[in-house]
Amino acid sequence: MALSNDLIKQRLTDKFGDRVTNVEEPYGMLTFEVPKDVNLDVLQFLFDDPELSFQFLTDLTAVHYPAYQGRELAIVYHLHNLVENCRIRFKVFTPIEKPDVFSATKIFEAANWLEREAYDFYGVNFVGHPNLKRIQNVEEMDYFPLRKEYPLEDQTRLDKDDEMFGRGGSLSFDFGNRNEDGSPKTIPESIG
């Protein structure tokens, strides 16, 4: 293959030095992390360079990691080189108190709606986006649903209770796999 992961890594470290971190290759796809203030520089570099030419933004999503302090929201860009059929992924982390990330709409038109979706579900504020408002949820919604602190289920239901889902309740079914004190039985005990 003409465009190998090593070549891309070499070019990135030549240009950006040690700002490119956490380089790994899960399932053969090169993945790296950059600080959030250079994300547009990296995108522009990967777009313009005639050898790399990653000119197709396949996906732009966000992930919420509540365990990472100061780096809670990750914005993930998936880029594709159509000529060489090579894909890379890069991530940008931002703290949740001030989730400002530069918008990639000037470079990729596709980023317009993808960033609106990331804003809608995670609250990432894309600086420079022409029309940053909710795209899939109801406009009046006042929270960001896919953040980990909010539950998935609709809270207005009255009939779904713990007993129906096997989470205890008044009429729990005895599956025969727990001792009296609630600790789980090991396999020889429950058979013998």
Binding site: Q136, L152, T156, R157, K160, L171
Partner: protein, 194 residues
């Protein structure tokens, strides 16, 4: 099991080879038949329902199968499905309605002329189905009054036809004054519809 489960087991034996419709009660003589207005209007309405299929998701495929030749819905009188609420009697909500779509369904319902009936087909339209999430309306009966619910994920075409036949029962037996009655007005007010 914690809760008793009831199964729908009905054995209907075949009475005759040709099924005949029942004549309504009335007094007949040579060249005339006098009966209740309710019966005749109900008979006419129930055998010529024009449905509006509001199909949003997978249950729409089962509805397409119901309209196709094998499980023909046209033999029940609904040959003409319309997509204009102004001309239709039965709003069939087929598939999941999200919270963003709920005002649209309500608007379509409001544009229908009386008498109108609503059938919620599928688990998602009846109660939200397996999608108990922040963005899914847990049953279309939170925004519009529903007459018949057809459970299933998706319901088989036979189940949709059974639901349609129950709608026909409701239409045939409905009182002509029901739409002006207090009971109906209270029902609509509880949904915020004037």
């Amino acid at each position: 099991m914690a809760r008793p489960v009831s199964y729908n087991i009905k054995e209907k034996p075949l009475e005759r080879d040709i099924s005949m419709a029942e004549l309504p009660d009335g007094y007949q003589g040579e060249g005339f038949f006098a009966g209740k207005m309710n019966d005749f209007v109900g008979l006419a309405r129930k055998n010529s329902i024009w449905p509006l299929p509001f199909a949003t998701k997978c249950c729409g495929i089962e509805f397409m199968a119901t309209m196709a030749s094998h499980y023909d819905l046209a033999r029940f009188g609904s040959e003409r499905v319309g997509f204009s609420p102004r001309q239709c009697d039965l709003l069939m909500v087929i598939g999941l309605i999200s919270k963003k779509m709920a005002p649209v369904v309500k608007q379509v319902y409001l544009q229908m002329a009386e008498p109108r009936w609503v059938m919620a087909i599928g688990a998602c339209a009846s109660s939200g189905g397996i999608f108990d999430t922040y963005s899914v309306l847990q049953g279309v009966d939170q925004v519009i009054p529903v007459d018949v619910y057809v459970p299933g994920c998706p319901p088989r075409p036979e189940a949709i036809l059974d639901g349609f036949m129950r709608i026909q029962d409701i239409v045939g037996k409905e009182s002509l004054r029901r739409r002006n009655s207090d009971h109906y007005k209270k029902l609509l007010e509880s949904y915020g519809i004037q």
